[in-house]
Amino acid sequence: MKIEIKDLHFTYPTGVEALRGISLMVETGEQVAIVGQNGAGKTTLVKHLNGLLQPSRGQVLIGDWDTTKHSVAKLASRVGYVFQNPDEQLFSRNVGAEVAFGPKNLGFEDERIRELVNDALALTQLLDKTETNPYDLSATWRKMVAFASILSMDTDILILDEPTTGQDAVNVARIAHVLVELRKRGKTVITITHDIDFCAENFERVIAMSQGKILLDGKANDVLGQDEILASTYVDPPQLTRLAKRLGLKNTVRNQEEFLNALKK
């Protein structure tokens, strides 16, 4: 499902102008990473996608739906939102019930709910924790439960707010694996991240935001190589991009494969 944002402005009731003219198209099945300093407007932007916030000016279209004309509950059938802090979204007695809550509310048949829950738990490697209370799990696993509880809603669009925060290498790899699977299924994914190496290794398109505006939007290699512009929004290029630049390599590289290929030539 396509996302279209037209000249979006948003001002908080406190007077803070958090978004100042965002225009953006995300095609069906695209996976996009949004980077930028704290306070750049990343979370404010994505909160418009499921109607948690309404534009002060401009328009947000989810497929053919204008977000001002549909309730958050309705939009939830198209856009799933995984919060940065899982504790803000978990409340059920056990993992299985937590993950079943979303699809139940979307009014799916029991059989389909079972399938979706099972699939989401399998993808996030939580099958052995179905009966566990989410709050008996470590913060790491709670984050996976929050992820699963959105996956099970089978929305065409998924928003992930800082999915790798506090996660170790093994879990980051798990998350990357889910992203690959979502790509195969043609899901549109928008991820906010400070983890620039994770961004470089898993996303083809990167948007850099600063002070409520889009600074850069393009192919990952084109965006991540712009170290001076990125510095203005407090983002350092990925480690291997920086290494290649310091070594004077003429092309921007963003992962191990690209780096080693350049050296092998």
Partner: protein
């Protein structure tokens, strides 16, 4: 004499059978900067709680062995005495904020009030600490109105203000952008330079390599490796045990297999990687103007 001394420490949380810490032996000298790394579930936060006296004073369960900080044994102390020597900044700042105060300034003074610091000194200390961590502009805000990164700075500041001899930090920058991370590491480094003992749990290996004197790799509640950053962080045991490593290390390891790594030992930092790879770059791959 070591300021932190753990002998055969084993700990089980209540109602569990598997120890989260197993036979930990650890001595940390005063002024040392020690980083602790490990996969999720390795026992890093539990180690922090043990050092901070929350185990055994707040979390029950079964603690065996001896935990000694500044010559006091935790079994024989009370928490109010323990906090004079050790401060812990929580992994999740939201859980640390008292909930009893309306402003950041009051929140920062909370610990000092509890140990009976005179008002004038209290205000001076809070102001100095806020300057240090760059949060003076947040003084009148509610701690709950802040972003995750700002809350983490408040959590860190509320410990610094106590001037503990041992500073224990559990992933203090996990919610910060790269510049915030750099600033906070600058502050921590500063504290260590002034002689504070720092024990830091952290996933960001590149920073550890730059600042820590020593790295402890924890896995399944046991110490797997303990040594200087250049050795521990490049050990081949890390990737096979689920530890995150620097991209510089992993790319150099791969390059070594391919015969195009010319460095002496595997790099952890950017500078080390640049030095080791410099001679391996084919001329035709180099752009006209080298950047600094």
């Amino acid at each position: 004499m070591a300021i932190v001394n753990l002998q055969n420490v084993t700990y089980k949380y209540p109602l569990t059978d598997v120890p989260v810490l197993q036979n930990i032996n650890l001595q940390v000298e005063e002024g040392e900067f020690v980083a602790v790394i490990g996969p999720n579930g390795a026992g890093k936060s539990t180690l922090c709680y043990t050092l901070a006296g929350f185990i055994p004073h707040f979390f029950k369960g079964e603690l065996t062995g001896t935990v000694e900080v500044a010559g006091i044994e935790s079994h024989n102390s009370v928490l109010s005495e323990w906090v004079l020597n050790v401060g812990l900044a929580f992994q999740n700042p939201f859980n640390q904020i008292s909930g009893a105060k309306y402003t950041v300034f009051e929140e920062l003074a909370f610990g000092l009030e509890n140990i009976g610091i005179p008002r004038e000194e209290m205000m001076r200390r809070v102001e100095d600490a806020m300057k240090l961590t760059g949060i003076s502009d947040l003084a009148e805000r509610s701690p709950y109105s802040l972003s995750g990164g700002q809350q983490q700075r408040v959590a860190l500041t509320s410990i610094l203000v106590m001037q503990p001899r041992v500073l224990v930090l559990d992933e203090p920058t996990s919610q910060m952008d790269p510049i915030g991370t750099r600033e906070v590491f600058g502050v921590i480094h500063n504290m260590a330079e002034r002689g504070m003992t720092v024990i830091l749990v952290e996933h960001k290996v590149e920073w550890i390599a730059q600042f820590a004197d020593r790295v402890i790799a924890l896995k399944d509640g046991e110490i797997l490796l303990d040594g200087p950053p250049s050795e521990v962080l490049t050990s081949s045991l890390l990737p096979s045990n689920g530890f995150g490593i620097s991209r510089y290390t992993s790319v150099a390891r791969k390059a070594k297999e391919m015969g195009i790594w010319n460095g002496e030992r595997l790099p952890v930092t950017l500078d080390e990687a640049v030095n080791g790879f410099r001679s391996a770059v084919p001329k035709e791959e180099i752009s006209g103007a080298r950047t600094k």
